[in-house]
Symmetry: C3
Subunit: 153 residues, 3 copies
C-alpha cells in the first residue's frame, strides 16, 4: 500500500516536471519565432549558446549560430522588405525528450507561411527542426539545431 | 546548501505554476476557436468579460466584444453559409506573460483556413492576436483583444 | 481562512494535474503524427489499444485500428512514394476533457500538408479528430478515434 502510494506520488512528480519543461519549451519557441519574424537579430543571437551550431538545408555547411545567423537573419529581412512580403514561422508537433545531463532534445515540425503585401498567405515550406536545448543563466538556449526540408529530401 | 534547496524548490513551484497557466490558456483558446468556428454566438459572448473591447483590422474602431461580436459572428456565419464555405481558426506560437495583478497578457499567431464545399482548404489570413485575460468566476475570459493582420500592415 | 487556503491548494493541485495531462497528450500526438508521417506501421499500431476502433471519412465503416490501419498506413505510404509526395500531419486546438473513469476525451483540429518532390507545400485537408484515450501499461493509447472532414460535411 505504502509502496503503491510512493509510486503514485513519484509518477505525479515526474509528470509535473515534464509538464513544466514542456510549457517552458513551448513558450521558448513562441518567443523565438516572434523574434525571428521581427528580424530582431540581437535578441535572436541571445537565444543560442555562444558556440551553438546551426545546420540549415539552404546552407552548404553548418554555421556558428551567433555569428553566421545574425548575418543570415539580416539578409533575409532585407530580401523580404524588397520583395514586399512577410514570413511567419510556426512550430508544432513538439516532441520533448529530457536527457540525463539536464539538456533537452526536441523535435518539431516547422511551417513557414509567406504573406505578400496585398494578401493571400500560403505555406512556403514544411520543415523538421531538431534542437538540443541547454539551460544557461536560468534560460533555455539552443546549443545545436538541424533543420531539414521535406521538399529537398 | 539550505538556501540552494529553497531556491530550487521555489523555481520548481514557479515553473509548475507557469505550466498550469500555460495549459489553461491553451485549453481556453482551443475551446474558443471551436466555439467561433461553430458560430455559437451565445457561448462566444461568455468567453469575454462584460466590458471587453475587441480591436479587429476589419473594423474601423474598437467594439464592445459582447454586443458587437455577437452580431459580427452571426453575420459571418450567414455569409459563409451563403458562400458554401467553412472557416477554421487556429492559434499557435502562444506567448503567455503573467502580470502582477493576476491577469495574463498573451500574444499568439492566428491562422484562418477556409474550406469551400467540395474541398481544397487554404490559408486565408495570418494574424497576430494579443489578449488580456482575466479570471472571473473561476474561468479565464478575454478582457481586451487586438488582432492585426500581416497583409494589412 | 483555513477553508479558503485549502480551497486554493485544491485548485492549484487540480490545475497542476490538468497541466500534466495536457502536456502528456500534446507529447503523445506529436509522437503519433511523427510515426504516421514516417509510415512506421509497427509503432503506429502500438499507439492504439488492442480493440481500438477508428472512424475515418474515407472509409465506409469503422475499422479495428490495429489490423485495419496497418494495412491503411502501408497502402498510403506506397501511394505517396509512387506519387513522389510527402504528407505532414499536424494537430492543434487541443481540447482535453478528463473523464471520471480516468480516460480522456480529446478533440482537436488536424491539418494535412502535402509536399510534392520539388517543393510547394499546401494544405490538403482540415479535419476534426475526436479521441478517447486510455492509459494502459503506463502509456496513453487511443481506444476510439473519429475523424471528420470539413469538405465532406
Amino acid at each position: 500500500m505504502i509502496v503503491e502510494l510512493v509510486g503514485t506520488a513519484e509518477r505525479m512528480l515526474e509528470s509535473q516536471k515534464f509538464a513544466a519543461l514542456y510549457a517552458q519549451v513551448q513558450q521558448f519557441y513562441a518567443c523565438q519565432m516572434q523574434i525571428l519574424d521581427a528580424h530582431d537579430t540581437e535578441r535572436w543571437a541571445g537565444l543560442f549558446t555562444e558556440d551553438a551550431v546551426f545546420e540549415l538545408p539552404s546552407l552548404p555547411e553548418p554555421v556558428r549560430a551567433r555569428a553566421g545567423l545574425a548575418h543570415y537573419v539580416r539578409a533575409g529581412a532585407q530580401r523580404q522588405r524588397r520583395a514586399g512580403r512577410r514570413l511567419n514561422h510556426w512550430v508544432g508537433m513538439l516532441d520533448v525528450q529530457p536527457q540525463a545531463d539536464g539538456s533537452l532534445r526536441t523535435r518539431c515540425s516547422a511551417l513557414v507561411y509567406v504573406t505578400p503585401s496585398g494578401g493571400g498567405s500560403k505555406v512556403l515550406y514544411v520543415c523538421v527542426m531538431e534542437d538540443v536545448l541547454v539551460r544557461t543563466r536560468g534560460e533555455w538556449r539552443t546549443a545545436h539545431r538541424r533543420v531539414t526540408r521535406d521538399d529537398l529530401a
